[in-house]
């Protein structure tokens, strides 16, 4: 056996984005020993890329906002597939989590009265996104990073966990390696929190960074945890489209929140097409361009423009416009915010201005942007118990994008940054409580040997499949058949391609040694990507209806029967198996909130 270093913690947090850092803060504040593992340098996690804001009903804008409206908006936006208890916790606690962040040192934009300024966003009835220009994610992660560091956890930067270790049916540790030195690492812990984010990297065009390979969810699945709603992958309506090397990079929804207009190649403001207005939102949006224009300056008396429908609806509309031949030169639509004036655009959207000027060669204060949907977020993930964030496996907790339940079939913009605050804390508290009642457990040697074998195999092969080729073919397959429009035929074809890639991945080989070798890292990631891709495609085949992000053009209607079920994916003898589980019934006090919205 190869040598390895051993670390012992009360709680091990895997992932150092917002959710992981917030969990670590809770663990440290409980007086427990906390270890944090992250694949990159600290502060580089995907949270840094969030732009628009963190949704919480502070009610600072003179509108009658409160947690009940936020609850109703989130369930409606999620096409009623959300876990009601999770949404209740979320909408209530989001407010305190944002204010707490301010006490940690975050500096949000202010209202004229000096309170945190809030901006409008898709699917939110009132102005609710607490923000810092269009770099809110950076503000969040740096604030949480500084706070966490001040509490003294041990941070293992540029470290990959490849396997969770179980004993007697509970997770008691993890095995991985230092990416810089290649040295093997054993972590023993009383509880483990997974906060590893999403898995957009399985698609060709995505707003996600390289880290988003879904390791956490894949490892949890291997450890016996159930995944849920895996078919629900969010396609953000506005990704960059041109130049080609920039394709997929996010164009924040804040552009539309600040009044940005979508037009097709004919110059038509197509979101006003009644065909794109879903029944549950009818009457709640401006019906003429004149009304939408008045909303810019008088939000109390005019309805918001239809560009601010939830992301699933806007993405589908753009997709249909382009498919119908009304797309731009490069196959997208135009997003224009130039009518807001140069100084306003530069002040409210500085990062977008800079991004398009330097990377796209477009001055957005004068010209429209060309955009097309990009893979952005995963609503599905590890199934958790709402109050403690414990997964279906003892001792294993999950929070943030890698967990499922809060967002249902479609996430509202701004809800992810508060998700990671609210459930990061909940998971940290849950894991801390669990760790206080359990002891460290011995790790069977066979587990360590098996972990090492898996890590070393790709390096030992002289010839075999190149990980970059497999990853690229997987991206092609998912982009072609598991995107916005899905059919039984396409999904079946995609599944076959994944099966064949799985076989080839058994023969993956890489050159070089263990010191900072990206080829080796990619060879280990591909397994996770394939596992989760299979879960997505099988779940999408299972759900024979259209709801939220899942649009099955062979089953175009929302089916009330399916609205009462979640699709569950598990690993049984190495095979991904899907089934359904009943969505928890909404209790009376929450049903009343939904009914208030009908009045």
């Amino acid at each position: 056996m190869e040598s390895y270093d051993t670390f012992e913690y009360d709680v091990l947090v895997i992932g150092a984005g917002g959710a992981g850092l917030r969990a670590a803060i809770s663990v440290c504040e409980a007086g427990l020993r906390c270890g944090i593992v992250c694949k990159s340098l600290l502060g580089k996690a995907h949270t840094v890329m969030a732009e628009g804001g963190a949704a919480a009903a502070l009610g600072n804008m003179g509108e009658p906002d409160n947690w009940r409206v936020h609850f109703r908006d989130t369930i409606t936006g999620g096409a009623y597939l959300n876990n009601p208890r999770m949404v209740e916790i979320f909408a209530k606690e989001a407010i305190e989590r944002v204010l707490e962040l301010e006490r940690y040192g975050a500096v949000f934009d202010r209202t004229p009265e000096g309170y945190i300024a809030q901006r409008p966003f898709g699917g939110h009835t009132f102005r609710r996104l607490n923000h810092v220009g269009d770099r809110t994610g950076l503000e969040l992660i740096r604030t949480l990073q500084d706070k966490a560091i001040s509490l003294g956890p041990k941070v293992h930067m540029e470290t990959t966990i490849n396997r969770l270790l179980a004993s007697d049916g509970r997770v008691v540790g993890a095995y991985g390696y230092d990416r810089v030195s290649g040295r093997f690492l054993l972590f023993k812990a009383k509880a483990v929190v997974i906060a590893t984010g999403g898995w957009g990297r399985m698609y060709r065009f995505t707003s996600n960074s390289w880290e988003s390979t879904g390791d956490g969810a894949a490892m949890a699945m291997e450890a016996g945890a159930e995944l849920m709603d895996m078919e629900m992958v969010q396609f953000h309506p506005t990704g960059m489209l041109w130049p080609p090397s920039m394709r997929g990079i996010l164009v924040t929804e804040a552009v539309r929140g600040e009044g940005g207009i979508l037009r097709n190649a004919r110059g038509e403001r197509f979101m006003f097409n009644p065909a794109y207005m879903p029944e549950r939102y009818r009457g709640k949006f401006a019906e003429t361009e004149a009304e939408a224009a008045k909303w810019l300056d008088d939000k109390a008396n005019y309805r918001r423009p239809p560009e601010l429908l939830p992301r699933d609806e806007v993405s589908r509309a753009i997709y249909k416009e382009v498919k119908a031949g009304r797309g731009t030169e490069h196959g997208g639509v135009y997003l224009d915010v130039s009518h807001r004036g140069a100084s306003y655009v530069r002040r409210k959207l500085p990062a977008m201005y800079d991004q398009f000027l330097h990377l796209g060669g477009v001055d957005i204060t004068r010209q429209p942007m060309e955009v097309y949907p990009t893979v952005h977020y995963t609503m599905g993930g590890i199934r958790v118990e709402p109050d403690t964030c414990m997964t279906t496996v003892e001792g294993l907790f999950a929070a943030g994008e890698c967990a499922a339940g809060l967002h249902g079939a479609n996430r509202l913009g701004g809800n992810s940054l508060t998700d990671i605050l609210v459930f990061g804390k909940r998971a940290g508290d849950g894991a801390a409580a669990y760790a206080s009642e359990h002891a460290l457990a011995p790790i069977p040697e066979v587990e360590i040997t098996a972990s090492q074998e898996r890590l070393l195999t790709p390096l030992r092969r002289e010839h075999g499949e190149a990980p970059a080729v497999l990853a690229s073919e997987l991206q092609e397959a998912m982009q072609a058949d598991a995107m916005i429009e899905r059919t039984e035929e396409g999904l079946t074809r995609c599944l076959q391609r994944i099966q064949s890639l799985k076989e080839r991945a058994e023969r993956v080989a890489v050159a070089g040694g263990r010191t900072y070798n990206p080829g080796w890292h990619a060879a280990l990631d591909i397994r996770n990507q394939l596992l989760l891709s299979e879960a997505i495609v099988r779940s999408a085949l299972e759900r024979k209806e259209s709801r939220g992000a899942q649009w099955r053009s062979d089953y175009p209607q929302m089916d009330p029967e399916w609205g009462r079920k979640n699709v569950i994916a598990r690993l049984v003898n190495g095979e991904v198996v899907v089934s359904t589980a009943p969505l928890p019934e909404m209790p009376e006090h929450l049903k009343e909130i939904m009914e208030e919205g009908q009045r």
């Binding site: 840094v48 945190i116 810092v132 500084d146 930067m157 070089g512």
Partner: protein, 247 residues
Amino acid sequence: MSGTVRLRIFRGDASGGEEREYTITPTPGMVVLDAVRIVQEQMDSTLAVRWNCKAAKCGSCAAEINGHPRLMCKTRIEDVCGRDGVITVHPIKTFPLIRDLVTDVSWNYERAAHIAPLQCRDTGEQPRMRQEDVARVQEFRKCIECFLCQSVCHVLRDHGRKDGYYGPRFMVKVAALDMHPLDERPRREFLKTEAGVGFCNITRCCQDVCPEEIRITDNAIIPLKERVADEYYDPLRTLLKRLRKSR
């Protein structure tokens, strides 16, 4: 720009290394990071490079491109490719080399851990701050920690005084705290002794390379120097202190 680009990338580790040349065909709008990744994915998967977002938001991909410290994701090929079609890419210099384009920047994280966080009272109410008062703090909080400023700082780079000076990145960080309307923690002594603000001789090199265009020297370091000077070297203040002590 037409045809191909010859990338000369430094390959090696602390024991030594050399430039190796890779030829790629760029597509429109391509940045240096795209080209480096093409090399990594298609020619040599062992090429070590640090990157995350490819959108100039995370600050991972700092390198010296044609000798200039820049972010690879924010540098378009056409802007740095000479007539000969050559672009050189080397690791940043001030930190120890690990391999190829990756350096050991852990010193920065050690320094960060010494900076005390915001200290503010929880009054139970939403604090009120004016936008004008937080704007300068927000400028400093744009920092994406790419450490380019640390890499070009003469005190750190040429004089190797990591023992005495925290460097521009952390002057910006302390400035963001010291100028925060809610912060109640005294920071002048820390700045003068531990963080070594006096070491900076205002050459503004850090400011020139900042990809976030933070006016590091003008808006952070000079005001911090003034605050320290006020505290320790103001004759009137020294006299008052002495008088108070003698009472």
